[in-house]
């Protein structure tokens, strides 16, 4: 892929804008709350777009196109089943507790609801995971630009990390949120012309359907049996594993995304943030998954002259190259600069999201709670900035580690998956059962994590797992295995937390007001017109979701 002056000009213009946003926001940052929580003053539409954009990192943009090419339209389950219902649940049921409790972070909510050890467990694992994810994002960016543009690994790493550092250091979370929204529009508008051109070349949607196997163009038709669908998952593990445990665990408890709703300017906006975000989110498959299907269809379109590259083994298709190879093939200079900038934006968005979540959790939940509790606000503002620099430097180190020891990265990713899987049970019980105790929550989390590890150690999928010396079950795909691991972890955590809670002393009820559903007054929405009520929004989203699923059933 060869770039011309116009492409470099567009990339430079983007860099100028993102850095400029940092400089503009800097003068508004006067306290640690301004830096780490945007002063809780972000308008609804910005919070909503940032909410989905924080998740619109490289894994989503490159990875979902790759999954679209590999699994077809079934990949849309990661949105329509694995995101939207959880986002609605977050908006309607959970945001009133997060926002109403005045917690500054998800771990701080755990401290208020349970105890310090539960908070510490969540804060430390989350802080490590964010650095790890940020580093992986950086590594993926450098590898991709090395392959498609011939840029050196170091150039990509230091350029992207340097720019993210400048704007997050200067403007903190507000700067990251503003840039995430700009990146959202850039990603959508930068890739949309590619979808249009690709569809046109392939003969429209009907042309794509006619050139792909039936199982790749139906979301539900083949989920009855794991052997029949390309994902290798059955309907139960899909619905419970992805549609419930993993999606609710991520969208309702991961501070990276929840933070975007927590910084909305009032409670009503915080509730509506995930609901409004659900509208563009449910349309994202047309931007990030469809290119994958188009890539495969074009390979079988006479006269299209497009091939998806192979991996170095020369046998397996390199699905990760679906989107970049389409960009290289169909975008001429000019719009190519926009497309590449969109890719750059997705990597930087993912990295900035992780770093800003890390600096908040580090400053408030670790440093202020356990290291220096009674310092001035200015001290914590400085610590927030130091944490930002540390987060970026640690991300760069992680990227180099990933380059040298790929197996360690796979291992860490696996371990973090085990830690995340049971988390939703802890929050669910905490919010809806006042009898749940801190001891129950903590040991439930530990037990759920161990149950996840044991399930992986006793089962096998695509040659992975069964490291405990026995294989109790073989899965058709690692994805199916992951869904079942999540179900086991959630169930173990749920049961263990409930049992231990029954034998330990709960907090007095007056301490749980604002933290538990049955003890908290519902937000009064009686004065709102019917179409402005959160429930109405949720119903509209659900109806649209059903229509989309029927169209692509």
């Amino acid at each position: 892929m060869k770039l011309h002056v116009i492409d470099y000009l567009i990339i430079a213009l983007y860099f100028l804008f993102v850095i400029g946003i940092g400089f503009l926001i800097r003068r508004k940052v006067k306290s640690s709350q301004d830096f780490l929580m945007s002063g809780r003053a972000i308008p609804l539409w910005i919070a909503s777009l940032a909410f989905i954009s924080a998740n619109l990192g490289a894994q989503e943009v490159i990875g979902m196109a790759a999954s679209g090419a590999k699994y077809g339209i079934m990949t849309s389950h990661f949105y329509w089943l694995g995101a939207i219902p959880a986002m609605l649940f977050l908006g309607i049921f959970m945001m009133p507790f997060y926002y109403g409790s005045q917690a500054r972070s998800v771990p701080e909510y755990l401290a208020k609801r349970y105890d310090e050890k539960t908070r510490a467990f969540n804060a430390i694992t989350f802080a490590v995971m964010t650095i790890f994810s940020s580093g992986i994002s950086l590594y993926a960016l450098a590898k991709l630009f090395e392959v498609i543009l011939g840029w050196s690994f170091e150039l990509s790493i230091y350029l992207a990390a340097g720019i993210v550092l400048i704007y997050t250091f200067l403007g903190g979370l507000t700067s990251a949120v503003y840039n995430e929204v700009l990146q959202f529009f850039l990603i959508v508008l930068g890739i949309a012309p590619l979808v249009y051109i690709g569809l046109h070349q392939a003969g429209g949607w009907q042309g794509v359907v006619s050139r792909l196997p039936d199982s790749m163009t139906h979301a539900w038709k083949y989920v009855g049996s794991a052997q029949e669908n390309p994902m290798g998952v059955d309907v139960w593990s899909l619905a419970l594993g992805l549609g419930f445990v993993l999606s609710f665990g991520y969208w309702c408890t991961d501070f990276l995304v929840v933070q975007r709703a927590m910084v909305a300017h009032n409670m009503a906006a915080a509730e509506k943030t995930p609901l409004i975000a659900a509208f563009p989110k449910m349309l994202m498959p047309f931007v990030v998954i469809l290119p994958g299907l188009i890539a495969i269809a074009l390979m079988h379109t006479p006269g299209a002259d497009y091939r998806l590259p192979y991996k170095p083994d020369g046998v397996t298709l390199d699905y990760d190259m679906a989107l970049p190879s389409l960009l290289a093939h169909y975008y001429p200079s000019g719009i190519l600069g926009v497309g590449l900038t969109a890719l750059f934006a997705s990597f930087m968005s993912g990295m900035a999201g992780n770093v800003t979540a890390f600096n908040t959790v580090w400053t408030y939940d670790i440093y202020q709670s356990y290291i220096k509790p009674k310092e001035s606000d200015h001290h914590y503002l400085i610590m927030g900035r130091v944490a930002t620099v540390f987060g970026i430097v640690a991300s760069i180190a992680t990227a180099y580690l990933a380059r040298s020891f790929n197996n360690i990265m796979d291992f860490l990713q696996l371990v973090f998956g085990f830690v995340n899987a049971p988390l939703f049970a802890t929050f669910f019980l905490g919010m809806f059962w006042k009898r749940t105790t801190g001891h129950g929550a903590f040991w439930g989390l530990i037990g759920g994590t161990l149950a996840a590890a044991c399930t992986h150690g006793l089962t096998l999928a695509e040659g992975k797992g069964a490291w405990l010396g026995a294989n109790l079950h073989s899965f058709h795909s690692t994805m199916g295995q992951n869904f079942v691991i999540a179900i086991v972890a959630f169930t173990s955590c749920f049961v263990l937390t409930a049992i231990i809670s029954l034998f330990t002393k709960p907090h007095p009820e007056k301490q749980l007001v604002g933290l538990v559903y049955s003890l908290t007054p519902r937000p009064d929405t009686g004065h709102l017109r019917w179409y402005r009520k959160p429930v109405t929004l949720a119903v509209v989203v659900l109806l649209l979701l059903i229509i989309l699923n029927l169209i692509f059933k």
């Binding site: 116009i6 000009l9 213009l13 503009l24 508004k28 503003y178 700009l182 012309p193 000019g334 926009v338």
Partner: protein, 68 residues
């Protein structure tokens, strides 16, 4: 009334307007090649320009008061 340049609609509007102008300009002045190549830049540039102008319109005529 003083306009708030920290309004994100201004930033997004300015960015996409500039991208649109660059692409349209490139499509117009670049050495002639395949017609379809020019059309892609031309059409995309116009869409970006219109989107940018819409954002600037909203920023200019429907201002949100800054807290400062």
């Amino acid at each position: 009334m003083k306009k708030n340049i920290l309004d994100l609609r201004f930033i997004i509007g300015a960015f996409f307007s500039l991208i649109g102008i660059l692409l349209c300009g490139y499509a117009y002045f670049a050495p002639s090649g395949e017609v379809s190549v020019h059309q892609i830049n031309w059409h995309s540039g116009l869409v970006y320009l219109l989107f940018g102008l819409l954002m600037l319109f909203l920023w200019f005529f429907f201002p949100v008061q800054s807290k400062d």
